[in-house]
Amino acid sequence: MKKKLIVLFLALCMVFTMTACGGKGGGEESSGSAGGTLKTAASFAYPSIDVHKEYYGWYTSIYGLSEALFKFDENAVAVDCLAEDAVADGNTWTITLKDGVCFSNGDPLTPDMVIKNIKRLAEVNERFAYLGDFDWKADGDNKIVVDTGKDVYPMLKNDLASPECGMIDLDATKDFDKDPICTGPFVITEFNPEGDVTVARNENYWGGDVKLDGAVFYYMQEDDPKLLAMQSGEIDCYNSVSSGALEVYEKEPDKYVVESVPGTRLQYYILNENRLDDAVREAINLTVDKEAIADYQKGTVSVANSPFPDSTAYSKVSIPAVDTEKAKKLLEDDGYTLGSDGIYQKDGKPLKINIAYYAARSLDTLAVLIQEELKAVGIDSYLTVEEDPDSTYIATADFDLALYCMISDKCGDPQYFIDSTLADGAYYNVGGFESAECEEMIKQLKTEVDPDKRADLANKIIQIAIDDNAFGYVGLFNHTTVMKPGVSGFAEKIPFDFYGVDANTVMQ
């Protein structure tokens, strides 16, 4: 018995000691120098680094291994990378490659190799299968002509900036899963499937000097180890900083540099039109206070005034302000009466909805807050948490309100999000949203070339969904990066998640 008591006492002491020690950032700092090896944390780790498969290309891009023909800049505009430019003329695109681009083994990147890469990507990645329908032809030493068929395809340049479109030396690569030969400023030196990754400078880099000697990406899923590793000096930087960690870093500005730019990862909810009538859906949208919710997620999330960042031309929509009195009136006009328990009921049945969510991307926080806000106006709810939303409530539509988080804009254009969530039969259009007018405009959007008209169409489409109370757009995650002083060029000003180290990443 005494032994047991001693063990339990020690456990208690440990809890106290851990909490007491928490506030001290301290620890050894790794020595910084020009060149050097940057140590960072990666939230995900995959079994393969085949650039074209699944979303692996996102990580080969983060590791600095692969590059696409174009890349996105700080304003989410597709700019030159391996290719100088892509010019559209009706349904024909002409892509001009840069001179002197070569793979890490010294072999040049040719138009034929680009075409082979695109064809492989279309074969192995369902999301890019449409690229295989286009007619790709090499024209001379540095040009590729793409015939998109009977319809124009205005977004090809942006699509080719996707990290999955990274170029691999298909002739020389022996092991696509572990050692693809690419054009990036770094080459793989150690790849542990679903584990840590080490890269070293590509001595044959076509784009000039690479400032770092190499980089190590430690696989750390949780926020706490990243915070502790940063404090102890085990890592030099990382992104997707949590609100708790952000508060710690902001208290010590001399030790940590924090960069935060509006991102494109959207927290939103789908309202099931097959289960909730118009009045209930509208009442929910008039009740959910996204500004209050953003306050809880201190600094890591910006209020979503549309699915897209406010800076874009396709974010100009109007969302009704929070009005709980109007919400209550709507319910009462719809035949609901307030019960003695403060919950509305109709025909003796309380108004109780099922909120489905998964415990990632702060959706658990959103679920609790939305539940509280709804309860305050008389809408009861229960929470259903799932491990994998795609195979559960998204697949079965078994929800009244489903929380989800996805990248709304991954190529500087609204079409991806609209196609994924609003088009008839779209993967995430599982709440019963239908609109012939919307469908017609989505068709127009697919072939519209003029950016202003595209933005106008997108605004109209999103507005229809908002007016129909089919969705609720809550917050957009900021792209937040923390670095030790002297570290820069870790894609800290770019709003996308799929960039990391590059030739200009430096630590001093």
């Binding site: 047991k4 339990l8 909490t19 809880y296 929470l383 259903t384 948490v385 799932e386 491990e387």
Partner: protein, 271 residues
């Protein structure tokens, strides 16, 4: 010897008083909680302990003291319920195996062996994962292996008394198996199995809180000590109180119930 027994009895009484206080806190937590444990407030996020909030507030501005008190009800009630169910199932299975023996004993004890072949927490995590989130799922997950210890104990005690003269006398009186088990065997084996149940409370509480900590127990926003620690650990450096108080509540409760179980066991040995 008498002095020793009195000392042990004193220990039992002290432990029982503390355990009783904890149970009373759990029962009356709704009255004792100074604030609504589920009310969020963006202006009160991560407030340090103060006169208004004795244990501070959490990441959503909820009163930690109120949540610890309401969490006591969830944690202690679910632990008691799970131990009670496992105790009942284990008693029935153990008595059946011990009394009848033969194929019934073989089948049920092999099932128990199968359950014991894997570490309890590993089985619990796997089962809770399959069943999905929820306190019910977590309790089933832990209960799957928990009944076996009661069954084995009840069986061994049944075996040791089933050939006693008073059991033979009952048989000769024409009592059937069920009657003998209920009126003669159960009262005689109840005490050791009940003491075993007392010692299981602490372990069970760790199991339930552990599963909730891993996200396999209670579903948000329900207050439960394990899930409170899990939610708060992300900001342990800026609001340690949100972790500290539910952790302390867990440790103290486990110490009290383990102490009670040990004290009762030692007292019984002395008798």
């Amino acid at each position: 010897m008498k002095k020793q027994k009195a000392k042990l009895r004193k220990r039992v009484i002290i432990a029982a008083v503390f355990a009783g206080i904890l149970v009373l806190i759990a029962v009356f937590s709704g009255v004792l909680a100074p604030n609504d444990p589920y009310a969020t407030n963006s202006e009160l996020i991560r407030q340090a302990p103060s006169a208004q909030f004795l244990f501070g507030t959490d990441n959503l501005g909820r009163c930690v003291l109120s949540r610890v008190l309401i969490g006591a009800r969830t944690t202690i009630a679910s632990t008691f319920f799970l131990v009670a169910i496992s105790f009942i199932i284990g008693m029935i299975v153990g008595m059946l195996c011990g009394f009848y023996g033969g194929i019934v004993d073989d089948i049920l004890m092999r099932i128990a062996d199968l359950m014991l072949a894997f570490p309890q927490m590993v089985v619990a995590i796997a089962v809770a994962g399959i069943l999905g989130g929820g306190l019910g799922g977590a309790m089933i997950a832990l209960g799957i292996t928990m009944w076996t210890s009661f069954a084995r104990l009840a069986r061994s005690h049944t075996l040791s008394i089933k050939n006693e003269p008073y059991i033979t006398a009952a048989r000769l009186q024409g009592k059937n198996g069920l009657q003998i088990m209920m009126t003669h065997i159960m009262p005689n084996i109840l005490e050791p199995v009940l003491i075993n149940a007392l010692t299981q409370i602490g372990t069970t509480m760790i199991g339930i809180s552990g599963l909730s900590f891993l996200g396999l127990g209670v579903v948000a926003p329900q207050a439960e000590w394990g899930s409170m620690i899990s939610e708060a650990r992300a900001y342990i450096q800026i609001a340690p109180w949100a972790v500290l108080f539910p952790a302390a509540a867990t440790v103290i409760t486990i110490i009290v119930f383990n102490y009670l179980g040990d004290a009762v066991m030692e007292y019984r040995k002395a008798e």
